[in-house]
Subunit: 385 residues, 2 copies
Amino acid sequence: MAGILKERLFTPGPTPLLMEAQARTLTATLHHRTESFRQLMRETSGHLKYFYNTQNDVLIFSSSGTGAMEGAISNLVSPGERILVGTAGKFGERWLELARSYGLEAVKIETAYGHPLPIEEFDRRLRSEGSFRAVFIQATESSTGVSHDVEALGKLVQNYPETVLVVDAITGLGTTALEPDSWGLDVVIGGSQKALMIPPGLAFASVSEKAWNLIEKSKSPRYYFDFAKERKNQAKGETSYTPATTLVVSLHAALEYIRQVGRENLIENAATLALATREAARALELKLFAQSSPANALTAISAPEGLDSGAIVKEMRQRFGIIIANGQGTMKGKIFRLAHLGYYDMPDLFAALAALEITLNKAGHRCELGAGVRAAQDVYLKRRG
Amino acid sequence: MAGILKERLFTPGPTPLLMEAQARTLTATLHHRTESFRQLMRETSGHLKYFYNTQNDVLIFSSSGTGAMEGAISNLVSPGERILVGTAGKFGERWLELARSYGLEAVKIETAYGHPLPIEEFDRRLRSEGSFRAVFIQATESSTGVSHDVEALGKLVQNYPETVLVVDAITGLGTTALEPDSWGLDVVIGGSQKALMIPPGLAFASVSEKAWNLIEKSKSPRYYFDFAKERKNQAKGETSYTPATTLVVSLHAALEYIRQVGRENLIENAATLALATREAARALELKLFAQSSPANALTAISAPEGLDSGAIVKEMRQRFGIIIANGQGTMKGKIFRLAHLGYYDMPDLFAALAALEITLNKAGHRCELGAGVRAAQDVYLKRRG
């Protein structure tokens, strides 16, 4: 050990913790069947609507995000019904796995990793292939760093009264300006360990009136993720089962902080960091993995020719204590990913880029020291003045 | 507010807190007159000897560092006795103020701010001006960022059996390799909010046998900072008065961390950060305030011609949440100071330098963006490979 080394997360979830929100849990000796907890839940639900930018109900589950994704499948669709799934990465594929588990007929719209899904293809299928019960997509595909155009898709699906749109916005929330109500994003899934700055363990689902109507009719088996039961209970500040109480306390505190910062400023923060990272990557002669429509939540960068991205990830951790993410699945070893969602500021990025420049040079990718930082500084100056 | 802004201390005390040491206090429901607290005190005293690199007693006081400085005066010197004081900054002047308060005759060896004290002048005075009871100096003058040669001074004072050397090493400990025992540093003063990574509130004094002999004879009034009484009590893990218990808990935890890192590595860490900062300053065409013998604990940088350093301090805080220190006293507005002591790593410095480059450019000091970071990266590569 050659001195001090601080561990710093730059992964697209979990993300750096807001310590003030963590500290709040220390005095939280609370029982969930009390009026004080019910009040906390009701306030937290209200804050979540602000974060989501919606008037729809936002349900809270004690689970990872995948739990709420499963809930969207089991509550909305009945066995044998057809759904349309957009997939261009690991999390798109998760929708397909869930559909398979529930015996649904999933029609797939696929595009290559690193590309956004073609919305016109959804239009064509919806028009030509008869009725679908639901359409599933990611707002941001965290495995590739690409954003999909959920606004266009929402406005399209709005034309089909029997079809709902489900958006996995686990990394999209707090990094992309979403308008669930006017765009027709019927169910929007979120998770705690992303832009919300708290640990993993809570998942969220906003549900529109159009979706509630469908939920009444759906016949898939469900129990823990029963949306209607939760809606009834959470309207009173109750939860159907024992909730992860300290995470709710952290969430409440983090959402208070986010209200202070402002939802739009939080998104703008991620957008500036993402743009600065892309410009830095160009200055360091690195290729971005997203061919277009790059996400604000994270930036995926291709490892330089002949280098394993795993070696870059390892070296960043060992030299600087900086934890970035390798690629997932077939992208493992080929890309590395640097996150911008949640509790990050410009000095965080300057630090990570300077460390990356050293790491790349040591790994054999010659690049000018300081050049990536300078590109990020230029973006800061252009956007913040 | 334009997004996320994290507060980051780059001041030469208080310094960034080691969160693991803070967390330890949360379960510290302890009473100070118990065997478990006595054991904690004894272990902490042992760890402090390691940190100090000494076999001398190291006393712990619940006070700021100035309290232990006062103790060194009141325990060692009697009214009317003569002392020799080296001063080249605000903390040197503090020794003079203390001497005045206790009615001592202080002979001053002074040099201009930004310069190290001339040790040959101490030699001349000690030889020519008869007996002095004690000599006082700083290891590192935090107001100017200059190190004094306490090794040479110690070896000199060792030749005078009736004279002890008192070193204010509040910012010197953990940033400079000190050998109190072989160099003859009789009393060495420390403070908690510096390289020890915990909050303000504890002060330390190591005391040599030579100093203990003097303490027996000294007639200055003292009560709270009575070294002999504390020695007797602390040998048993007791304290004379109610100690700041949670700070002792943090200190114990922080010293365990420092033993893991290694005392030498901690010092090397500060030395590398300091060197990198000086090289960065040169690359940005800034003048270092220390004309020679710059400290590892902090770097003092002169504000560019025509600029008020207070404006740079303010802008760094407002734009980036980075808190650096203005000059003190007559140096206010003329220098700013960036700390390296304690819980800092290279990514911290990269972040601060990138922010400083932007801040300087906005303030009218044109410098190449990224150039300071690059100079620091080069130092990292040279020293860490």
